[in-house]
């Protein structure tokens, strides 16, 4: 009985530590507290997941789709891009960036563009900024 319990704890710990640029599956959090949940990275690089923004969308969770890609010459340089359609809000955000190993652990550094409606001028419709996602700490 005790053996089983220890094994189970071991699996959880292994899972927590194996989330990195080569194993993107898991939960990532940005500076604002928004959560990027990567549920699967398919063989060809397709990302399936969910996004929980900390602001602006009443706490709703949205489906997310994206891609990971690496070149053969630079297999350690992991590029990533993903999008969320904010259903019911009329807007869409796309993030574009790369995963790096920093002193504090793996980071997904992105620049994003968000397009929306209802502005006085069309040229006001695209906003840009950056987000860095890190591995959510286990409690």
């Amino acid at each position: 009985m005790r053996f089983l319990m220890i094994s189970w704890i071991g699996l959880v710990v292994q899972s927590a530590f194996s989330q990195d640029c080569k194993h993107l599956k898991g939960q990532w959090v940005n500076e604002m507290g928004s959560a990027l949940i990567i549920e699967a990275v398919q063989k060809e690089g397709k990302i399936i997941g969910q996004y929980a923004s900390s602001t602006g969308v009443d706490g709703k969770i949205f489906p997310l789709s994206g891609w990971v890609n690496q070149s053969e010459e630079h297999p350690k340089e992991v590029n990533i891009s993903f999008m969320v359609q904010w259903e019911g809000y009329g807007s869409i955000t796309s993030w574009t960036g790369y995963c790096l190993i920093s002193d504090g652990g793996p980071q997904i550094k992105t620049i994003w563009n968000l397009v929306r409606s209802g502005k006085e001028y069309d040229w006001e419709r695209i906003i840009t900024n950056s987000s860095t996602f890190t591995v959510e700490k286990q409690k």
Copy 2:
């Protein structure tokens, strides 16, 4: 018999002219001659298509996925975002923008970000620029 032929021509013409911000399905071309082929816009706004870049990828055609979105308050303002994973090249591009009716017909105006590998510094990996897609003229 004659009636049927005319009807058929009518359908073709209608199809050619009906490609606009509400009917995105069809082929769009940007200033560089790259083709954005929207094969379907699903009920919830998901875009399925292909992208044929005029430069940098040896004439290959790549699958494309994306989203269209509109708010209820501004149903005529069509927002769009789509991505291409440049399989075999290690890079990914995401386009973000909106569809407008200009004097010359419908336009999809976008800002894009492209992330890639093999640069001296990581901060060099994301490039940005703009592309405007118009309806490819019928020959």
Copy 3:
């Protein structure tokens, strides 16, 4: 007398045609009808000028400062960046791009970022888009 008049016309025409990527001084206009007026490009590349936006600032004209730069290896590739502080509006725009000779004449192609105040969230404060400036036609 007639000779003098012709000479004078000749000078005007020469001046109109000499505005290109090597001689940026003059008036440029973008797709929206905003005017970029380059009054001087100083020896080290500093730009002095004015900007007249067609929207959003009540027709006022603002001072503009910027830079031109070229590398020794690629002297024909002219890079340009300029900024306008929208005094009284709290915002600032910076344009970044390059000058190219297209079929229709010289073009300054830019991506711009505009930062402003009074938004619900700070992450909404930077908008981005593109502008292409061409030589204003002589009437």
Copy 4:
């Protein structure tokens, strides 16, 4: 005499601590170790300074010019934009963003665009990324 010395120390300390979004003058450092040195903010908002990039320019220091701006309605929201012409390298960078007070002190959060020469395609010439500048700690 002792009184004077204490006063002088007091002024230095006050100066060190008063660098914030309302008093931008001083040295700021980004995540990469590059230094933004704001020497003066003139009455109308013009910034005079220098920039020492930690990468790509052989340790040289370059002059920097820029603007600060605030609207009357939101005087605490400080917008900033500045540019550097990388003389001898052919490129120019423009930063656009805002100053915020975070838990760790004042931050200048920026998105930047860098335009350069010598690329295979012109559409590759503009790169983008983000930089956050914080107050350099006193030693």
